[in-house]
């Protein structure tokens, strides 16, 4: 039986490399559904990714042009490809470590230049591929392969970071909120500016098992509980809010 997204997938690639329960597979589905809903022509889309589990979301699975680059550099490669051929729709899909730590400089400069790219950051708050070391996005206190006593540092607020750098639109949703996340991706893809989507995507293998989530189901449930809307957040106690993730759309108000 033909599945409805088959046309968007490279048929010779038979399976994804993700662990069972990994959020990146859900995100992959959501991104392709957004593209299908908008009826974008895959022949005109270039997907650019860096290095990491998340960077494998488009490459080699997506049936368009895919550019799987170096760790941290996806946005720089994408900038050249887009500037040299402005007719291309260029979508960057990569991990939190990739885009915001080693590649953080490219991220803020692309936002500043307002380069017409949609950047989708699959944020699992950890370096998944390399074995679960602490990331610039890991929550305060998170136990990781390099912070056995808990992460001593604050994570980035990525949406505020890119807005501060000049992005017009940023949104944060979790893969446990597929419809709103998809709507945000569609909105970003329809804009002709630099747009940023932070997609929270659980990594049960490297993050969950070290931080009291014994199964991927448990991790998804915890993520659903932790995510609050901006309206809910406005009414919440500051101390409680620190343990929550504020989801929603962000722009310059």
């Amino acid at each position: 039986m033909a599945r409805d997204l088959d046309a968007y997938l490279r048929q010779e690639v038979k399976s994804t490399p993700f662990c069972p329960g990994c959020g990146h597979g859900i995100l992959m589905n959501i991104i392709l559904r957004a593209i299908a809903d908008l009826q974008l022509d895959m022949k005109n889309i270039l997907f650019v990714s860096g290095i990491g589990c998340a960077a494998w979301i488009p490459s080699p699975h997506f049936n368009g042009d895919t550019l799987h680059t170096l760790h941290g550099r996806a946005i720089a490669f994408a900038t050249g490809a887009k500037m040299a051929n402005p007719k291309l729709k260029v979508i960057v899909i990569s991990g939190d470590g990739d885009l915001t730590s080693i590649g953080g400089n490219h991220l803020i400069h692309a936002a500043r230049r307002n380069t017409n790219l949609t950047v989708i950051c699959a944020n699992n708050m950890i370096y998944g591929m390399t074995g679960g070391q602490v990331a610039s996005t890991s929550p305060l206190g998170a136990v990781t392969a390099t912070t056995g006593e808990g992460n001593p540092y604050q994570p980035f607020d990525l949406c505020r970071l890119v807005l501060g750098a000049g992005a017009e639109y940023a949104a944060r949703f979790s893969v446990t909120q597929p419809l709103v996340l998809m709507a945000a991706i569609k909105k970003a893809l329809n804009m002709e500016t630099f747009t940023f989507i932070e997609a929270l995507s659980p990594c049960p293998t490297q993050f969950g098992r070290r931080n009291q989530a014994d199964s991927s189901v448990q991790m998804l449930k915890a993520l659903m509980q932790d995510c609050v809307t901006r309206e809910q957040a406005a009414k919440m106690d500051k101390v409680v809010l620190k343990t929550k993730i504020i989801t929603g759309e962000f722009s310059h108000e």
Binding site: R10, E12, V13, M42, K43, N44, L46, V48, S59, P60, N63, G64, D65, T66, L67, H68, T69, L70, R73, A76, F77, A78, T79, G80, A81, K82, M83, A84, N85, K87, L88, N105, H106, H109
Partner: protein, 381 residues
């Protein structure tokens, strides 16, 4: 195979009084460069400044990026979007580019890098000359690979070799380096622009594998993004269609083998040199870049007094002129190798020449004076 065609020069034909850096930018525009990305660094910045103006004239794209890593990465992206693309830099920037140079090699991306070498290591003497980046050009990125590196000795050659660099990069699908130096980059002298020039076009073949070929030259055709070819480009080991194959030893060996062979097997065609007074010479100077100018002056002066000195000028550094050096070595002459580094090319010559090879190193940030070369040759003779 690529086709080539004759096009009109971008500037009107005639004589110009350019610096080497200006000439490199003009060579790029003439060769069809339509994307430049760079980051300021002495002594190469004039290339970037001129490109920012000249690309406007030809509706190309100029980007001043946030660093050299971003510059070279965006050049790779632009090349895959179909634009002939380049960057220019000097020592510290060249160091930052190394990982992405490996990406360019492994994904067989045509691109040009002009390195205006300065006195290193590190920040060194930023405004002074050196030629210490030659081994870095060859081996700076990790793994086992081949690139092409040229070495211009004049303003004319900054123009000509930048054109050659674009043509070679399209022909062999490989990053090509113009390994110039501060002295040639900042030299101002007369150069000529001919009415036409020959450019190499990208080899395209719809539906063909972009990363594998049975053709003898070992260079597959290259599609561009947006052509509906569903290209997968990756810096991981890949099969001929670009799909990752990171476990299969045969795929790894075949790919790395082809990437090396496509340069080494064609090296007779790639390697260029010039010789002066070599036939009856007792001592042959082997030099390149600015040092070859001093060597030429020295040899010419010595000949006027009846002393039998000759000069071999290497126009291509990588791939190395191994066969030529072996042949010269067989003639049992003495070879003298002056360099503005501690013997980077001397070591290569030693590998291939079965005769006495005498090095001369100078790493003080100054050019090697003809007088010094003359004195040394007289002592050796």
């Amino acid at each position: 195979m690529n086709d080539t065609n004759e096009i009109n020069s971008a500037l009107s034909p005639g004589s110009y009084f350019f610096t080497g850096n200006e000439a490199a930018a003009e060579g790029a525009i003439a060769a069809g460069c339509r994307y430049y990305a760079g980051y300021p660094i002495t002594p190469s910045s004039e290339i970037m400044e001129r490109m920012s103006q000249r690309l406007r004239d030809v509706s190309g794209v100029f980007m001043q990026m946030e660093d050299e890593i971003a510059s070279i990465c965006s050049v790779v992206g632009a090349s895959w979007s179909g634009a002939k693309s380049m960057t220019a830099t000097s020592g510290p920037g060249f160091s930052l580019m190394q990982e992405a140079i490996g990406y360019g090699v492994f994904t067989e991306t045509p691109l040009v890098i002009v390195d205006i070498q300065r006195a290193g290591p590190c920040t060194g003497q930023a405004t002074k000359v050196g030629s210490g980046d030659l081994m870095q050009a060859k081996w700076g990125s990790h793994g086992d690979y081949q690139i092409i590196a040229l070495s211009p000795w004049s303003v004319q050659e900054m123009y000509d070799q930048t054109i050659d660099a674009f043509n070679l990069s399209e022909q062999y699908r490989v990053p090509v380096f113009v390994m110039s130096d501060e002295a040639v980059g900042h030299l101002r002298e007369r150069m000529d622009i001919s009415p036409t020039l020959r450019v190499t076009n990208r080899y395209k073949k719809s539906g063909a594998a972009p990363f594998g070929t049975e053709e003898k030259d070992g260079v597959p055709p290259m599609p561009s993004f947006g052509e509906g070819e569903n290209i997968t480009v990756t810096g991981s080991t890949h099969n001929e269609f670009g799909v990752r194959k990171t476990d299969d030893p045969n795929v790894q060996e075949k790919l790395v083998g082809r990437l090396n062979h496509k340069i080494l097997n064609n090296r007779e065609e790639i390697v260029q040199s010039e010789s002066y007074y070599m036939d009856d010479a007792d001592v042959i100077v082997i030099a390149y870049g600015f040092t070859a100018r001093s060597a030429f002056f020295a040899v010419d002066q010595l000949r006027k007094t009846g002393k039998k000195a000759g000069l071999l000028r290497l126009k291509t550094i990588w791939p190395f002129a191994d066969k030529l050096i072996t042949e010269i070595g067989r003639k049992g002459k003495k070879l003298f190798v002056p360099e503005m580094n501690s013997g980077q090319v001397y070591g290569e010559i030693r590998k291939y020449a079965d005769c006495e090879v005498i090095p001369y190193h100078q790493t003080n940030g100054r050019i090697i004076h003809p007088k010094d070369i003359m004195q040394h040759i007289e002592r050796i003779l």
